[in-house]
């Protein structure tokens, strides 16, 4: 028996040596490897290929399997994190900074002549700026506008809208463009809007999620309630937008976006609220005649802005090399590529004011690029509070807004509950975190609210 075990052990050892000897040599031998945790899509792969071409000393590789803030933080703290990773909003940046994962690149970028506060669109500031320090560079950015399906407008004999316009002007148009067939089934809706865009309605009605200093949730203000009520009414009162059951027809497409985009591409809505990044997918729909117009405004003329940034893992042994990628994101080739791909809008403002951006020779029918650029100045990023975990706040808000969306709870009740729970959670956070407590007390003059 002993002989059998020894024989198996020797056999396995031999096979391991053989496997080690015959393993293929890596293509990137002699290059410095860099890993970027991001989503996997053709645009990202092209961006990586361009970087590798312009920087032959590096081998940048995409790792889509470890995306997600929790994975990045846990892996980085354990010493097996990526070199570069994405940051989607101000809360994520704050979490990365507080976890010691995000590398402060203020000085290294300044030394390279890159000043994000001046160069990039403000809509993406929360993703890179934390307490006056720079922690990354934007990958892209976007402000919502309205996509229009020209065929549905033409079929209904409705002229294409011209901005700027208000929601009052929008409503009769959306109603005319909402159609049912003779059996009562929906042919197409006048408007689609992903429910997660509810903050746009809050800010357009003059509301805020948090007070200016972030110490208190004010989502229950009359303005915020009016904004969400209008969104609710688009579904249940005006019937120009699908309810959750109707929206369920929009199967998730994965990759670049949601079912709303897919259904809009399939001609099931005449107008849809979205970003320029929708084009990545909408270009795939043959024969779809698109237009874009600024989103209607409410009492306040602002739109929801957002974006993505790339951060460097402070614990990466190759962080100095990873810095080259941020410099690449600040340079013209990358920005031109992003604009050409329609992976939203290039992060650097001056690269969006080029003739190629306005009229891409490869896509001559896209004559609406100015719209996406012009709305950028009205872009307002989602508010975050330093006094509450953003995921926690989202969960509380989403629960209440789920109930609103399903018409199970009045808007005012839901938002009051959300504000109460978030404010209670802020107080709990202050109990736990003395540094936050000090800051809170400085802002509120020592008063717990």
């Amino acid at each position: 028996m002993k002989g059998v075990f020894l024989g198996i052990f020797a056999g396995l050892l031999f096979l391991s040596v053989v496997a080690w000897q015959i393993q293929p040599e890596a293509d990137d031998a002699g290059k410095i490897p860099l890993v970027w945790v991001s989503d996997d899509n053709p645009a990202r792969r092209e961006q990586i290929a361009l970087f590798n071409r312009l920087h032959p000393q590096y081998s940048l590789r995409l790792d889509p399997n470890n995306a997600g803030m929790e994975k990045v933080i846990v892996q980085s703290l354990a010493g097996v994190g990526p070199d570069l990773f994405d940051c989607y909003d101000g809360f994520q940046l704050s979490a990365y900074v507080k976890s010691g994962i995000a590398w402060d690149v203020t000085e290294p970028l300044a030394a390279a002549g890159i000043h994000p506060e001046k160069d990039v669109w403000p809509a993406v500031f929360p993703n890179i700026l934390h307490e006056g320090r720079v922690y990354g560079f934007p990958t892209n950015t976007s402000v919502n506008a309205l996509w229009i399906n020209k065929d549905l407008f033409d079929a209904a004999g409705v002229p294409y809208p011209q901005g700027p316009w208000s929601w009052e002007e929008f409503l009769p148009l959306a109603k005319r463009l909402t159609r049912k067939d003779e059996k009562g089934r929906w042919q197409h809706f006048g408007f689609f809007c992903d429910w997660y865009n509810w903050p746009q309605f809050v800010i357009q009605w003059g509301g805020q999620i948090y007070s200016d200093d972030g110490t208190r949730c004010v989502i229950d203000s009359p303005e915020a309630i009016a904004g969400v009520q209008f969104l609710h009414d688009l579904i249940y009162k005006h019937h120009v937008m699908p309810n959750p059951a109707e929206e369920a027809t929009m199967a998730s497409q994965g990759g670049w976006g949601t079912g709303t985009m897919a259904l809009f591409g399939a001609g099931k809505a005449a107008m849809a609220l979205g970003g320029r990044w929708w084009l990545c997918m909408l270009r795939e729909y043959e024969g779809l005649r698109l237009g874009a117009v600024a989103c209607p405004f409410g009492p306040v003329k602002v739109y929801r802005g957002y974006g993505r940034a790339t951060l460097i893992n402070a614990r990466s042994p190759r962080r100095e090399h990873a810095l080259e990628f941020l410099k690449y994101e600040a340079a013209k080739p990358y920005n031109d590529l992003v604009n050409h791909q329609a992976d939203a809008l290039a992060p650097v403002i001056r690269f969006c004011y080029t003739p190629e951006y306005l009229h891409d020779p490869e896509y001559p029918e896209e004559d609406y690029n100015a719209v996406w650029r012009d709305v950028m100045k009205y872009g307002v990023p989602d508010q975050v509070s330093p006094f509450i975990n953003g995921q926690r706040a989202s969960r509380i808000l989403n629960k209440q807004l789920d109930l609103v969306r399903q018409d199970q709870k009045p808007v005012a009740d839901a938002l009051r509950t959300a504000a109460r729970e978030i404010n209670a959670e802020i107080q709990k956070t202050l109990e736990r975190d003395p540094s936050l407590r000090r800051r809170y007390e400085e802002l509120t003059g020592g008063n717990r609210r």
Binding site: M69, E70, I73, V74, L77, A95, K98, S99, G100, P244, A245, E246, A248, T249, A251, N389, Q391, R392, R395, N398, K399, Q400, D402, L403, Q406, Q408, T417, R432, D433, P434, S435, L436
Partner: protein, 333 residues
């Protein structure tokens, strides 16, 4: 004593320990170690964010979570999802009895019924998510077809139920018991079929042909044939044979399955929440295991999440003890 420590015995002991050591080391490092670590951590405020200084806070985490309405709502969700257990176990038994028959091609049937168990859980959940789609999912297509072609809507209309529609499944907070979404109570307004019921239904489908069926099949195969022959000689019919021979003989198997199902049920719901619902709508499919995940890895409160884990362990331990105390009395074989 002399024999115990003979040279040969010592050598055998060393060899045995050599074989056990790799596994035991792994168990120690990757199971016992983390388990004890989580117990220690549950008495702390450990947060992955550096701004919160580490502190020992005694039982504060346990006190906080036991007073948290959220915890009890998720506990109710966990319990609710276990309501399908009796059906799943009963279904497994019926299926095992059917598959224990000496039929042609029985191996093919057994493989087919076991298919869901060795298929990727995530793939199955994505499939069920599509099936549950209220508008174009196959399930509602059948329900709507039945309602329309059998003119059931008109019929139900006579009783004032003409507005009956197919369920919204994963999109709905409604449930068969009318559990309230935000409070620990029942309410008529929540009565209906919703996400929780959809997950139960899928769970029953997966479990019926799963490991429980195999255990029952093995149990049935091990029942001595002479017991059936004796019963037959006494004139017992099929039902009497099941009731007086098969069922009692399967008692240890049933006991094992019930205990394991309770443990699995209390720990369950994570994959479904992660893949199918994100814990929604409005938190109705968030179970304790998903709650642990969100607290630890989304809100970074490792200490608090560890406390939930230990409370969950305590619940499972007590439930298993109760099962053992009352269930094992029935084991006469």
């Amino acid at each position: 004593m002399k024999k115990l420590f003979s040279r040969r015995r010592r050598r055998e002991l060393v060899v045995a320990l050599g074989f056990l050591l790799p596994n035991f080391t792994g168990f120690l490092v990757f199971t016992i170690g983390p388990v004890l670590f989580s117990l220690v951590v549950s008495f702390s405020n450990w947060n992955l964010q550096r701004t919160v200084p580490f502190q020992w806070i005694g039982l504060a985490n346990f006190r906080e979570l036991l007073h948290s309405q959220e915890f009890w709502l998720y506990f109710i969700n966990t319990g609710y999802l276990m309501l399908g257990m009796p059906l799943a176990i009963g279904g497994s038994l019926v299926l095992a009895i059917l598959l224990s028959q000496n039929l042609r091609g029985i191996v093919v049937y057994r493989t087919l019924f076991y298919l869901p168990t060795f298929t990727s859980g995530v793939a199955l959940m994505i499939l069920w998510k599509a099936l549950y789609n209220p508008d174009f999912g196959a399930i509602n297509a059948v329900i709507n077809g039945i309602l329309t072609h059998l003119h059931l809507r008109e019929l139900l209309g006579l009783f004032g139920l003409g507005d009956v529609t197919a369920p919204q499944w994963l999109l709905s907070t409604r449930n068969l018991l009318g559990v309230h979404v935000e409070e620990v109570r029942l309410t008529a307004s929540q009565w209906g079929i919703g996400a929780r019921d959809a997950i139960i239904l899928m769970g029953i489908w997966t479990a019926i042909g799963g490991n429980n069926m195999l255990l029952y099949l093995a149990g049935i195969t091990n029942i001595p044939q002479d017991l059936f022959e004796a019963a037959q000689l006494d004139g017992a019919g099929r039902w009497a044979m099941f009731r007086h021979v098969t069922w009692p003989q399967l008692a240890p198997t049933t006991f094992f399955i019930v205990v394991m199902s309770f443990i699995g049920g209390l720990q369950g719901g994570f994959e479904q929440a992660r893949v199918m619902t994100g814990g929604g709508p409005a938190g109705t499919t968030t179970t304790l295991s998903y709650h642990i995940y969100t607290k630890a890895f989304e809100e970074f409160q490792i200490g608090y999440a560890s406390a939930i884990s230990w409370i969950l362990f305590a619940i499972i331990f007590v439930v298993t003890l109760v099962n053992w105390k009352f269930g094992s009395k029935e084991l006469s074989y």
